[in-house]
Symmetry: C2
Subunit: 333 residues, 2 copies
């Protein structure tokens, strides 16, 4: 079992934890017995849920006393320090006792505690928060989603390299192309930093990716661009606006589809198709944002997801480690 | 007929013009005979479409020789100068021969030519591009959508006042609230300019609007905030991302609903509900972005819309003039 991937799991973060975290581990183990789970949190609660469900060759529980709260500011979270499940899970990666760490807890605290414990990859100036987005042809990687409000052209170049490395670690057969999020497709649009980054990416030859120029918000989900690069402010607004739009449309659709008796009946007839549709857009499928730029990847699960969503973030962990993400970034930087 | 609202129409901008513009005017006239259309463009083409369809008490054609192209840069467009339908339509507003102007042509050129011809409202530093967005409870006003890439806190304050004035000119019975687009709802998040604007809006008492604090992208369409304020870069990305998300979901839904025979039949049964849904989200309903801050409003129709969409932008013109938008801004600034 020495070639198993070791995932450090903060069991205490997010809503309804540790229950959903442990259920997520159990669910994940059913389709994947190449992961070993190092579970940090309240030993009593955790062992009650997990015992008998997974052979204990596949996990260990590391008891922790304290918890970072969702209401903590990033600094408050970090100050709770070494007794927390979050801190100790990250520390186990630092000490090479685990390959990767995942938490559904407080995002700001996770970023701060990760930066305190883990080293930056050489020549990367700032780490970025990235995620997978569905598009018409598959999935794309988008970064930064909020770790860095203001970014230089060097930061955006780093994000391009890291994003492309993440994409190839997840989809080893593809050479990705990289687009720069902007408000027009013409070279002269955008602010100075974006135009500067355009020039740098355009002049640079990379074996790692092709540069696809600017991409506008309305084309993010067309599927023609694999890696979408942005500063953290704009990226966060784009991600959340897409989420809000999807919610709005779903609620309008529900109202329309069930407005009349015929509507209700035909929606019932159409239920398998609607379920297929819902499945394709299920946010749990895309759960697991990846904080990259540190010498170990850190995965952030959505705090509000359920055990299926958390299990998907464990899949992301597995694929990233198998895909040698960190090595790929080091080669390409 | 002297109390009719006079709308200067650039008939030559956008796809399939002047046909769709004139058809839009004819359609608009059917439900509204309080507008007089001053139509700028190719007289032969225009009169061929319009003659016999509307009594000529309701329009006049002002022949123009030249056209701003959609491929022109903003400056190229402006340099085509006084012979163009766009320039002359705007000039007629400047000369008080019309109350408002609308064009489906080149956005950048429209902004530049408007700024060259029209004066700024006193104490407003920069004009902004605003639009109506659908939400769960009705509509909201969002600005700036791309006229100003970088904005100061004074600009964002101006946008708040102008946006609230626009909202009350469209919905006279409501006192709107104003939200500032940001990446978190906590006071300490965001860049310095946004935090500064938060303080200014929070300290300022206005009869014109209430301040609702920060709003995140995922809540833009909840309907709790009536006026959403942002710099033009972020606003443009948000608008286009919402558009792209809606397109993506529509295409996924179509695939899912017609994937099987039962799916096809039940979608057919459900067609009136689906049509209601489509109608609610029809982008033509929201056509007509408003460039505000100049001493006359300038309305931009989407270039790709059809005659129904263009007719809706004529409705927007009518409502804005009736609602005394410019007077409202001057009172509140």
């Amino acid at each position: 079992m020495s070639d198993m991937i070791k995932i450090a799991v903060d069991a205490m973060g997010g809503d309804n934890s540790p229950k959903k975290i442990i259920d997520g581990i159990i669910h994940n183990h059913q389709s994947n017995n190449n992961s070993f789970y190092k579970i940090f949190g309240d030993e009593n609660k955790i062992s009650e849920i997990i015992k008998g469900k997974i052979d204990n060759d596949y996990y260990e529980i590391l008891h922790t006393e304290n918890v970072v709260k969702s209401t903590d500011s990033p600094l408050e979270g970090a100050k709770r320090g070494k007794n927390t499940s979050m801190w100790l899970a990250i520390e186990s990666v630092k000490n090479k006792e685990a390959d990767i760490v995942v938490s559904a807890g407080n995002t700001g605290a996770l970023l701060v505690v990760s930066k305190l414990n883990l080293k930056m990859i050489e020549n990367i100036d700032k780490p970025a928060l990235s995620a997978l987005w569905p598009n018409k042809k598959g999935m794309s990687v988008v970064l930064d989603l909020g770790a860095n409000i203001e970014c230089s052209s060097k930061n955006l170049l780093d994000f391009s390299i890291m994003g492309a490395s993440l994409y190839t670690s997840l989809y080893p057969d593809d050479k990705p192309n990289v687009g720069l999020l902007n408000i027009g497709s013409e070279e002269l649009k955008g602010n100075e930093i974006i135009k500067e980054t355009y020039q740098i990416l355009n002049d640079r030859n990379s074996n790692n990716y092709d540069f696809a120029g600017y991409i506008e918000g309305n084309h993010l989900m067309d599927g023609d661009v694999n890696v979408i690069v942005s500063d953290g402010f704009t990226g966060n607004v784009a991600l959340k606006t897409a989420e809000g739009t999807a919610n709005f449309i779903a609620s309008e659709l529900k109202t329309a589809m069930t407005g009349t008796l015929i509507g209700k009946i035909s929606s019932l007839l159409n239920i398998s198709n609607l379920n297929k549709f819902k499945k394709r857009l299920d946010p749990r499928l895309y759960n697991g944002a990846i904080f990259i730029g540190l010498d170990s990847p850190v995965v952030k699960s959505h705090g509000g997801t359920d055990y299926i969503g958390f299990s998907n973030s464990l899949d992301v962990c597995h694929r990233i480690v198998k895909g040698n993400l960190i090595e790929k970034i080091k080669q390409n930087i």
